[in-house]
Every structure is written in structure tokens, then in C-alpha cells.
Amino acid sequence: MSRLHDMGGRYGDGPIPIPRNKNNQIENYEPVFKYKWHAKAWAITLAAGALGEWNLDVSRHFRECLPPRDYMNYSYYEKWLAGLTNLLVKRNIISVKDLKHFTTLVEKQEINLDSVIKSELDKRAWLAKDVAKTLGWGGPSFRETKISPQFNIGDKIKTVSYNPNKDVKGGHTRLPSYAMGRTGTIHSYHGTHVFPDKNAHGNGENPLPLYTIEFKGEELWGAMAEDKNSCIFLDLWEPYIECHI
């Protein structure tokens, strides 16, 4: 079974919440961050990530592991903040006592951003002067290896039927439920990339072949498919493929 974040194909969701301008036209240029706290939650998450204590796959998995009730109720940046909070405690960067203390301080309005007494900046902290450089470099997932891909472009394959993560119950994976146990065609190959199912759990990068695989809408949605011609492309690692067909 999967988790709530794995929602591709789910029924029940209503119209897309598309913003419109005064003339009722679709708005392409709404503010990047609607509220200051959205921007802060986002920037704090990036800055905390830059401490180097976890990777992108770990932080994704922590968001996915929020209790379903919270995952559903929280807006986007609330999820980010909650996942980050759990991760900071789990990695002993902050303590439960710290959390309770600062919660009390802000609730009683006994602290604000100007009055906070700052320690000397940690050696790991991301400096403003390095922001552009670090963003420009990014965090590529491609790794040069000698691993040969087992599948060729054009091969017909079937994906595995269950969560491919064999290490951890309810563990992280990037194979969505809607594409499990389905037949597709290898569309392209991208070399070996860090494998999230391992990397999200501190089990190493384990780079493995990554393919883009094409699935027909009818294969994924059966008789309920919207039309016969649509197709859906997913980027899947080799262990997500069960076999040639």
C-alpha cells in the first residue's frame, strides 16, 4: 500500500484552483509567494537543507510521512514546515524542549525576529554571498558508473506490482501506485541516477539506470481512459521494472 501523497489518478478532486484576474482571464503572473510566511517556510527549508545533514530524498520522505490527517489539512508550505520540523528533531539539530520553548515564546509574543539573540553562525550555515553560486550548481542526481542498462529503447516492459522498496516498510519510492504492474515501452534512457528508494533512508546513493517509460492511457485507466491516444510518460529506475514482455 502507498501513502497519501501518491495521488495520481485518484477520483474525487474538484476543479483545478486556477487564479483569474479582474477580467476573469487566467492569471499567469500571480505573486511568487502569496504571504510572507510562505516565502519564509520555503527559504528556511532550503537553508536548513544546506546544513548538509540530509538529502532531497530524505526531506521528501519526511513530508510524505506526515500523518494523513495533517497531509490532507495542511496547505503546501505547512507540509514543508512540518516535515522540516520532524527532520530537525530526528537529526538532533533541535530538541523537543527547544520546540516547546520557542512555541511558548512566539505564542506569548516574547520574541521576534529583531530581538532574537543569535549565536555565532554555525560553520555549516549557508551564507548569503554563496546563494547564487550554490543554486547555480544545484544537486545533480546523475552519477557516472559502469552499470549497463538491462533494457533498450523500444522494449516492452512490465512494472513491479507492489512498492519496490524492499528495505523499509512504507519506504520511499518514486514509482506511483497508478503505474504499478502496468505494461509500457522504454522511450529513452538517461544513464545512472541516485536511487531515491535507498537514498531516502540513508542507505547510500546506489545509482541505477533511469528510463523514461511510455504508458498508454488505456493501460493505466482501462475502459475509463479519457481517449485511446493519450499517453503518460514516467521516469522510472530499473528496479521498478519487473520484466520484459
Partner: protein, 231 residues
Amino acid sequence: MDTKKDKDNSHSHSHSHSHSHSHSHSHSHSHDHDDHHSLLPSDPELRVKAIETLLLSKGLIDSETLDELIDTYENKIGPQNGAKVVAKAWVDSDYKKRLLEDATSAIRELSYQGRQGENMVVVENTPEVHNVVVCTLCSCYPWPVLGIPPTWYKSDEYRSRTVREPRKVLSEFGVKVDDKIQVKVWDSTAELRYLVLPMRPEGTENMNEDELAKLVTRNSMIGTGLAENIK
């Protein structure tokens, strides 16, 4: 545009205080029960403030870094970058060829690169094919060329429905795709990031790159829109 998923100043999170667990965390398989976030204030704005002041007090984050990050994505990195890539591809067929063959390198020619765009793929709209991009598992999006994703891209509605009923979703954006045109949906499940190359509008033969770039909307590069026609 306020929806349930965008309830920004909600105080409705008192429930989250009721299920904080104090039992020992002996479940080796998971950290599902370490819901420390539920200790934070119920108002999301105060929650952010609590974490921000805590990390500042420990010297783990720097206020100037947060300001620099926010300024970068509010003012420097955004869909105006992607629009320049598209406009260049429209006027320069050699560039377009490079863009479709190795998007990462071709986009780097314009100095757009890095975080959340380390491995770029460009998919081309044609009279036969319409492409649309989604991330069903989270919110993967090509930051160097489009910036931070809009709220609707991160919504449950877009994430759940686009892979199953793309034509219906597109129609909500005002994009009517003829039955004869094939719809291709790209679900960003790995670290490849997708940019749609929209079709060049008719009647723009005499326009230069800068003029053309103004016709390239953000949504046209996600696939939920078309490039604007000249007025």
C-alpha cells in the same frame, strides 16, 4: 483565489495537538509517529516564526541568506527565463535542435542552470501533439527556467487528475485540444525536469526574440496554456 488547500491564516489546526504521541519510538521501520511538528503553534505564521527564531538563535540559518533566496526567486529566476529559451528556439532552428537533443546544455547557453533544473528535457508541441507536465508525487518543477511553481500546480486537484483526464484538466485552463491531437502527459517522477516548447503563434514572422518572449506565458511552458496571439 482561496481554496481549502490554500487556507493561509487558518487557525483550524487545534486537532494536531490532540494526537501528539509520547510513546517510545521503537518502530524501526518508520518515523511516522514522531510528529514533533504538532508541538508548534496552531497558526501557521507563528509556526514559521517559532522555527525561524529557533534556528536563528542557534546560528543554523542566516537572515540575509533567507532574504537573498526569496529575492532571487521573486525577482531574478522565473518564467521570464523560460520565455527567452522558447523565443530563441522559435527564431533559431539550430538552437531548437540543440534544445530538443540536450536541453540542459542548450539552456545553459543562456546561463540558466542549477537547482531543480540539473537535468532538463524539452518536449515540443506540434500540430499533432500537445504536451503537459505534472508531478503527481510532489511538486517537481524546472526552477531555473520557470521559478517556483504556482499554487495550482501543487494542488491535489492538478496532481490527481492530470494523468487520468488531461483533456478535461486542460479545458479548465481554456485549452481545447482537438480530438485529432495526441495529448502526452509527463509525470516528473525522477530528477528530470520538463519544459514544454509551445507552438509559435501565427502572424509573428516579423517579430524579434524580445517581442516573441512576451508572448510566451508561464502556463504555455507547463502545457496548461498556449503562447499568446498578437493583439
